[in-house]
Symmetry: C2
Subunit: 405 residues, 2 copies
């Protein structure tokens, strides 16, 4: 019995594929600093945890397919607070994490074999959603040296074919931390208009912008291109709710929303407990978000100050948002080095886990010496992680036969 | 901007499509008896709710993509208790509800355009998973008068083509309540063997068997056809955990399991809170399951005794399991009648919601006068629902121009 070709083609997540090595290390009693995954250590707001502690609903039944009505109201309050008062509850489909929102958007806008333009490096799981949905991702290169900002309009337009249905962006960006400027967003919107494309904007890191910068959201263009704009969102990072699997898809395109609701009916509903926790968005104080933002900015600074002192590390300009960085290492094969960290290298019985960056590129051979670092640990842990990384690079590069760049 | 053809093709769920009418009725203060959806009123075990009330984990982080390790151990305990001690933890992939398990199984076994044999009427959402995964469902008819049991081997084999990759069954069955016999399961396994097909068995109603009957599980054949057997499971009904979105896919086929894990990595993890609740399977007493089974048997009996007294209703033999029945009504268009119940008919300001059965068939024109009734309410509510149904049929059929059969 053979499995389907497409199952074979689904890549292992570069964020998760080394997990068995990490588990083995932990079983040996090794402490692993997890910089591989965007799973923050920041506390979930207490007001949400109180929903669990005072739980009185029984049984745990299905929710509505579109989403829990009180959660939808809570989301509406949030988007209105951001200034997008034109959004109403019928423009929102609740999803099981941002993951489902992205997958639904690809399904809704593309038939099998259609193409979606993405900027590489891009969030690795886009590869998996693309294969699950039979869509071809067409990567446009961005460069480390200019902070992974977009190339000019012509370079992007050169990738548009008859099969192109959408441009998929992420701002603030996972894995690069890039926050697209107003000029870049204007350009993307003009390309979408001129070529009749959907613009899909993954904005799960909206609040994570540093040095006084602000995200330019696709919402600001939504009324200008009401049929073409789809925002993909998640509460995972904003409220440290990764494990609650809460996201949503927002569009003014009624056919898109009606269609994804039918898809949503097929899977019945998103989780009732998580959605009930998330009815409390209004009760999370602004100080929570502000403190989180400040904390991540400090972490980024500590990470970059530390990495700058390691010989051979190629750093981009400091990322403007999110909590990731793509960094070049003085190794030939970052996956081999990341595996070495988990299986072999220990410093005082501690090691570091990072995500090899090759899986974040669509073009073969790109990013081989790069890693994605998620700065989701506190500043002390990041300092310690950088120290381990420095030692590990020295030891690794002194192994006879290791073919450094 | 057009949406994708496939989005357009996703059908509205017959279980959910009338929800807006039900919501409107409720807004008017009408009480709606929900017999449309398998969302039981049975209480979730207290030992699971206690997990919420004593919750001390913060933040709510991602879980492992394969599943929460303690939940996996809990599932293993359950399958071993059933007598399937050959199953080990590496054969299980945790899913976000049984829904995701079914969708993953279709993706894993079929390429776009491949065919899967199903027995109609079948669980309506299979249509949606089929379209989402680009798979063609090939229906084989079963009949109300013999309790929707399987036709003979030749009739099934006549539907096998070069594109057929799997047979998908559900036992105890949603929507018919049929429990396949050992002889039927033997036949399905022999067809799978002879034609080199996967056998996908949706067994979420395993414990819901009545009159002393027992389910014959695909697990009993799993070692005989280790590469071909995939069991799809869910905790939703067994423990009244529909809203926790907990399911799993089990197979001895290592390529299937490795592949679905890669798909699972793409969507990161199933919910952390629900999985933590479900680590308590061992602590749910057998008396819980026994009481639930007894309760549903009584409900079924009350429903069938009541329906038997309504003129023109076509009843199958009493269903052997699950908590659904497909019933013929003396109307030309059951969807129109179900809509009428929600929008127009009230008896003492109460009405009933049922699922029109046409959406549970793959063949056009089938089941037009049938409904699926989920007997998920207590006996008094079922008695009352039947009384409402009886009156509504009389009133509806006296409307001039209503074209009854």
């Amino acid at each position: 019995m053979t499995v389907s070709d497409r199952l074979t083609n689904v890549p292992a997540s570069p964020i998760r594929k080394l997990v068995p090595f990490a588990q083995a290390a932990k079983k040996e009693g090794v402490k692993v600093y997890h910089l591989n995954i965007g799973d923050p250590d920041i506390k979930t707001p207490e007001v949400m945890l109180d929903v669990l502690k005072t739980w009185d609903r029984n049984p745990i039944g299905y929710d509505l397919s579109q989403g829990n009505p009180a959660f939808l109201e809570s989301l509406l309050w949030y988007y209105h607070k951001l200034g997008f008062s034109f959004i109403n509850v019928n423009n929102i489909q609740v999803t099981t994490g941002g993951s489902e929102a992205i997958s639904m958007a690809l399904f809704a806008t593309c038939n099998v074999g259609d193409e979606v333009i993405v900027f590489e490096p891009f969030y690795a799981n886009y590869n998996s959603y693309a294969i699950v949905n039979g869509v071809t991702l067409v990567p446009v290169a961005t460069e480390l040296k200019n902070g992974f900002h977009l190339p000019d309009k012509k370079t992007i337009e050169a990738k548009v074919t008859k099969k192109t249905k959408a441009i998929l962006i992420c701002t603030p960006n996972n894995p690069t931390g890039t926050v697209y400027t107003k000029k870049e967003m204007d350009m993307l919107v003009s390309i979408a208009k001129e070529h009749g494309l959907y613009l899909l904007s993954d904005e799960v890191y909206r609040e994570f912008c540093y040095d006084g910068k602000k995200q330019v959201s696709l919402f600001e263009y939504m009324q200008e291109i009401p049929k073409q704009a789809i925002v993909l969102d998640s509460l995972s990072k904003r409220y440290s709710l990764c494990g609650a699997r809460l996201g949503c898809l927002i569009s003014l395109n009624e056919d898109v929303i009606a269609g994804v609701l039918r898809v949503a009916q097929g899977r019945l509903s998103s989780g009732f407990i998580g959605q009930t926790m998330a009815t409390k968005l209004k009760d999370v104080p602004q100080s929570y978000t502000d403190a989180v933002q400040k904390e991540y900015q400090s972490r980024r600074d500590v990470l970059f100050d530390g990495l700058a002192k390691i010989e051979g590390v190629q750093l981009p300009p400091k990322p403007e948002g999110a909590f990731y960085a793509i960094v070049g290492l003085p190794v030939a094969d970052a996956e081999d080095f990341c595996t070495y960290l988990l299986t072999t290298f220990r410093d005082n019985n501690e090691t570091v886990m990072m995500a090899p960056a090759a899986g974040f590129y669509g073009s073969k051979g790109m990013g081989k010496n790069e890693v994605r670092i998620a700065y989701v640990l506190n500043c002390d842990s990041i300092k310690r992680s950088v120290a381990i990384l420095k030692k590990a690079l020295q030891t690794y590069n002194s192994i006879p036969g290791i073919n450094t760049t």
